[in-house]
Symmetry: C2
Subunit: 375 residues, 2 copies
Amino acid sequence: MTDTVAPAPAEATAARPYSPGLEGIVAAETALGYVDGEAGRLLYRGYRIGDLVERGTYPAVANLLWTGEWEPRHHLPTAPVPAAVLTALRALPLTAKPMDALRTAVSVWGATQQLDWPPTPEQARALTAFSPSALAAFARLRQGLEPVDPDLALDLVPGFLYQLTGNFADAGTARALDAYFIVGAEHGLNASTFAARVITSTRSDIASAVTGAIGAMKGPLHGGAPSEVVEQLHKVGTPEHAEAWVRDAVARGERLMGFGHRVYRAYDPRAAALRKVAEAMDNKPDWLELAIKVEDVALRVLAEKHPERALKTNVEYYAAAVLQGVGLTPDLFPATFALSRHAGWTAHVLEQAGANRLIRPDAIYTGPPERNLPA
Amino acid sequence: MTDTVAPAPAEATAARPYSPGLEGIVAAETALGYVDGEAGRLLYRGYRIGDLVERGTYPAVANLLWTGEWEPRHHLPTAPVPAAVLTALRALPLTAKPMDALRTAVSVWGATQQLDWPPTPEQARALTAFSPSALAAFARLRQGLEPVDPDLALDLVPGFLYQLTGNFADAGTARALDAYFIVGAEHGLNASTFAARVITSTRSDIASAVTGAIGAMKGPLHGGAPSEVVEQLHKVGTPEHAEAWVRDAVARGERLMGFGHRVYRAYDPRAAALRKVAEAMDNKPDWLELAIKVEDVALRVLAEKHPERALKTNVEYYAAAVLQGVGLTPDLFPATFALSRHAGWTAHVLEQAGANRLIRPDAIYTGPPERNLPA
């Protein structure tokens, strides 16, 4: 019933470079993050991630990404949640995924703001300060608790913990989560950051860009499956069982969660920074003790069994240990990762807007040739 | 205060293909839409857009995009708005932009649904049927009116008009808007569709993808500035002033809104299809009469003055005329465009998921070389 009235359009369009997943295609220039997987280096505006964790805070690092200026004492408290956002969060099912709640909160926030083009560091700051309060509010609402207002004397990460629990975290706990936020802040053109840049490229607003980025990070190929590391540590149980458990698992051919990375061949510098902070905690949660012990055993066993593979600890391993250690439930891990990435997303939005060009790749048409509708 | 401790990373990364905006880079294969700007052709799965408008309805075209099957009598009514969405919409400021409201509605909708991977045609259908009800609800709420429940006997576009106005539209009006929805349904890898595919590529859900797509379309480089055509027609006033007004405008070097397109060198086939439907209306709104007259004059004058440029009517011209003609206010045009594109976005989500690969391009790092933090 179909008439071919022209050659297949695909034939006319097959000459352009095609890279599924755009691997090896450069889609942007960026002065923000540099990922050097071979050497195990991650730089934000030239500064090593380990140095930033050692000497900075998340607000200072976020400010560095937005402005290029290093002000180690830069203060950024969490921001109040507009009434419209709270109403929307209260209306969500208690079983809604925290990523869906955060995506919705940012979208409602955007609808309540005047977000003129071009996006500004002030807009980036306001959105980055808003989202932790919104996620904390949702986390409490689904437990039947009332949201806690921001304490403007606290910096962003201890402020988030305060709004989550209603209590002031001890310094070590806040420090560990702050380190997590710093290492999560930026990582080049991953899928969520790229989504934010594509959305910005139409001259849309910063809330639209971050709403899209949260949606992208929600996917397990990007945000990961953080509960897997936690479940693995659950199975190990206690440090003294680590050696036997890891050897059994490797002998059975099981994949150890939290080891190996697409980009990093050397030790993931983010995992290294988080381990260092974890080791320095005065009151180390049992989780972190266990994670450190299991890592030591796992690296030793993996090197014995697969010396050719160079499987090293990845950031998800210590991320899970730290997040669990500071008292977050695994279903909050992806949304907390999204909070930490706000600095990078919004910095990329500013960078994209500063040298903007509509991002609109080509497609190869592989469908039917031109034809008539069936009679 | 900064020490250069390594060569600039950019030097190590400058060899890959770089296309700002990804122009000329093929990011996906698609069997959905084929845009042939030279010849003025637009095909959905091989079928000419003009034929689809003549013989189809928006639900039939959407179903074609989702399934590949042509069922001209495919019925799709608008869907009820979940209570959580209505609560969120009621909480928005009355001055919120309709695109922000629609983005929020889709995000809340996603939080209320079980959207397992992979996305399905049923999910696409449910979301496409939901969004018109949500936008209509917001449009009424901001006027102080209560939302109208869907009439399940109506197809999607007359159903949308019914929920918007509380009245049944006459057949010609519904037909004109349905034609608009068909020509807006799909247009290859534009920025919003690409954003939807990037988000889907992480195995995120269909609501996250469409939320991001709406955010991308919100930008004026994509969604356009539809009020400009309306304002131009306002300035012309009546058909008898068209000739003088157009000649004056062109003589003053003003740009005529609604003419010229980045891709189409020949007459935009979407504009042609919309004009045909508009001309056939029994009770043509004055707007459409005026638009047809102004177009004739403008094409004649532009061909006289700039024979080398081939400036033809673009889809925005008739889109504005039709949307204004059926009674929509200009600030609802971008969100109505977004409603029409739901079919294409969700079809691309299905297509991306069916042959998925994480979309993650490279970046060239242009920031400072590795350096120490200031002391």
